[in-house]
Homo-oligomer: 417 residues x 2
């Protein structure tokens, strides 16, 4: 042992708990509000309680068989890297899908990613430097917070109100928040967590703002197919004059009930942004090969698959809305898309209520799990009485889940009526 390492050993002994520190951005990273109640749910299950999971957007619809068959029949001998931007044959299939739904996109305007999450990350890295700002109407998909923190991007929320059904806040609210650090506006259309479907007129308002201030308009369209009551989804990619401003995130997860495939995509006509995003894509080598094989097969799945999914979700949506509207003190908008409802409950605090549902409540041996609302807001103190409900169970189970909720609201010690 050398003298220097001996000296060190004594030094080490004198501070036995020395330990390298984690980063501030890591410490400040929010835990997933959707997943943080999981330990309480696990404990409830161990006690034998059945839980209706309305807390997470994991559809129960079966993945189209064609997708898994395509993998089984692929006869790959080596599961090799794909190109960083995704296989060309898959990007051509994606373009085919978009053409079918009325959006004119070329394979070269698509980068395939490991889920829409990675798409958002690459775009954040490509468009923002640390300290830059992004404007997002709240409540918003909680992980936008996470992606922003990891890129040291500052989220400037604009609060949408449950009384307006979470429609687009007035243009003036946006203008007020724009600074020289603002680089983009981000919306989810239709929205996770509110289900709100932005109209073409609302998108035109956003178009005016981003053109005026030269911002990117980022739209998460992963729920694009899920619209109800004869409404129509307008893709931001169909708006003229936004070629350099519009960026879309999409994914096969919800449309084809294949969340575990981890196949998402960035779609944009802005060549500079896309070639920058490609550099981030190259650094991580490639998206999943098998997922792309599944993804290509999905595009040949008949439209009847998606139509049947939408009908099924619409039935569930109606079950939830009807039941919720009958519960005293509950506010439930009637949103036009996705498979979420964002409701206001007559309780002191939905995080406490959701935890209580898992820890102390049962109704005929069952309970319900929801995502507390506060995690979907960036403004401190908002959403404390709100919760997100994902209607991803069949109608019978949804009825039982609503039975639980109805009874719980009558028994919960922190109820406000």
């Amino acid at each position: 042992m050398s003298i220097s390492s001996m000296a060190f050993s004594i030094f080490a002994a004198s501070k036995p708990f020395a330990m390298p520190k984690i980063s501030e951005r890591g410490a400040n990273m929010p835990a997933s509000p959707i997943r943080k109640l999981v330990p309480f749910a696990d404990a409830a299950k161990k006690r034998g309680t059945k839980i209706y999971h309305l807390n997470i957007g994991q559809p129960d619809i079966k993945t189209p068989k064609e997708a898994l068959n395509a993998v089984a029949e692929s006869q790959l001998e080596i599961i090799a890297y794909s190109p960083s931007e995704g296989f060309e044959w898959y990007r051509k299939k994606i373009a085919e899908y978009y053409t079918r739904v009325g959006v004119d996109i070329d394979a070269s305007e698509i980068i395939v990613t490991s889920g829409a999450s990675e798409a958002i990350n690459f775009v954040m890295n490509s468009c923002f430097d640390p300290g830059d700002e992004i404007i997002v109407p709240e409540p918003f998909y909680a992980n936008y917070n996470g992606f922003s923190r990891s890129g040291n991007v500052k989220v400037k929320p604009i609060t949408a109100s449950i009384e307006d059904g979470f429609g687009l806040p007035p243009m003036a609210d946006f203008e007020k928040e724009i600074t020289d650090k603002t680089k983009a506006i981000l919306i989810c259309n239709p929205s996770n967590p509110t289900g709100y479907l932005y109209s073409k007129e609302e998108l035109e308002v956003l178009k005016d703002i981003v053109l005026k201030h030269d911002l990117f308009l980022m739209v998460d369209e992963v729920y694009r197919e899920f619209v109800y009551e004869g409404k129509e989804h307008t893709s931001v990619l169909t708006l003229d004059g936004l070629e350099n401003h519009a960026i879309v995130f999409d994914s096969v997860s919800k449309r084809y009930s294949a969340c575990g495939a981890r196949i998402g995509m960035i779609i944009s006509r802005n060549k500079e942004m896309m070639s920058t995003a490609l550099k981030f894509a190259q650094a991580r080598l490639s998206p999943p090969t098998l997922g792309q094989i599944m993804g290509a097969a999905m595009i040949d799945v008949p439209q009847s698959f998606i139509d049947a999914s939408i009908s099924e979700y619409d039935v569930r949506r109606k079950v939830c809305i009807e039941r919720l509207k009958k519960m005293e003190g509950v506010t439930c908008p009637n949103p036009g898309g996705a498979f979420y409802l964002f409701v206001k409950l007559p309780v002191d605090n939905t995080e406490r209520f959701c935890k209580w549902l898992l820890e102390e409540f049962t109704h005929q041996g069952e309970t319900v799990m929801m995502a507390p609302g506060a995690g979907f807001y960036s403004s401190e103190g908002l959403g404390m009485q709100e919760a997100r409900i994902a209607y991803v169970l069949n109608s019978d189970d949804l009825h039982k889940a609503m039975d639980c909720l109805e009874n719980a609201l009558k028994q919960y010690p922190g109820r406000t009526i």
Copy 2:
């Protein structure tokens, strides 16, 4: 049209090229040095030239059949999200693999990621704030640069020399670079791009440094199984006293020739770092489900599969080294691991040379593609005469590739001898 939007239209017309700007970190992000010659290769192929690809670490060994069979036989009806940290049954299998190779690791000390790339990203986000520094011996895996840029982490390189076979630079070189911003030292063992296998003694030196300065010691062990000439790989996880400091990145990509599975992992006993990394993992929901099914099946693949791979690579390694040593002016170390050689060539500039190989050279209608060395250095101006060779082709093809290189070195206008 409202007056304000009319006013805007005039404004827009006056600056028709207005366009939102990409980020500085995006602009500064290096293009992959491994992939940037691809357009020239594509052009050569279109002209009918056969190219031997020694430029990328995509093994040609067949993926074990058991892996794809496991997917085909999985009878999944819904390809759902997995837990963010990976399925527990898969993490237990990984722990089983580690126990088998003498590393005592528990399933709770593993987070499954979309490739080792994502593992590095999560760890960077968890350990570094923008402006923090990481020390990396160079030449290093080029994408470490990319991950650092995307996290705004500053790479402080310490130059290893080809004359020493790229062994660990002296401790004093590390000490000189450590500031109060330094958070970690990162090595790849065995190394991509040099093939160098760090000895236990070298790891002990690094241990002393990181304990003294309270740094993380991050080790990319994705090539851990690929060691030659009876040498042994020492995992940093087997060193006492580094429980809170050691972080390992691993992957199934190379070991089981399944780069497209996109299954990597973070392994560490530092609970605070792991719970921080888990928050980043939660934000992206989950790693690929099918990849985990394959990954679990791979761990039951008989050791003979890996042994056969290693023997095959060893044969190829010897072919390359023997041929390279006979070429005038070529310096080729004899590294102990991975499947790379980092060589010095008698040319003015290897980037120019590699491009010339694709654009202007053929030998019997064939040419060879390598990765220019400069992209593996962070210090400006280094590696200009070096190149990385990945010996991922069979011996016959390698001989032909070496024929090309040998002839090219005699004809290249910028040769230095």
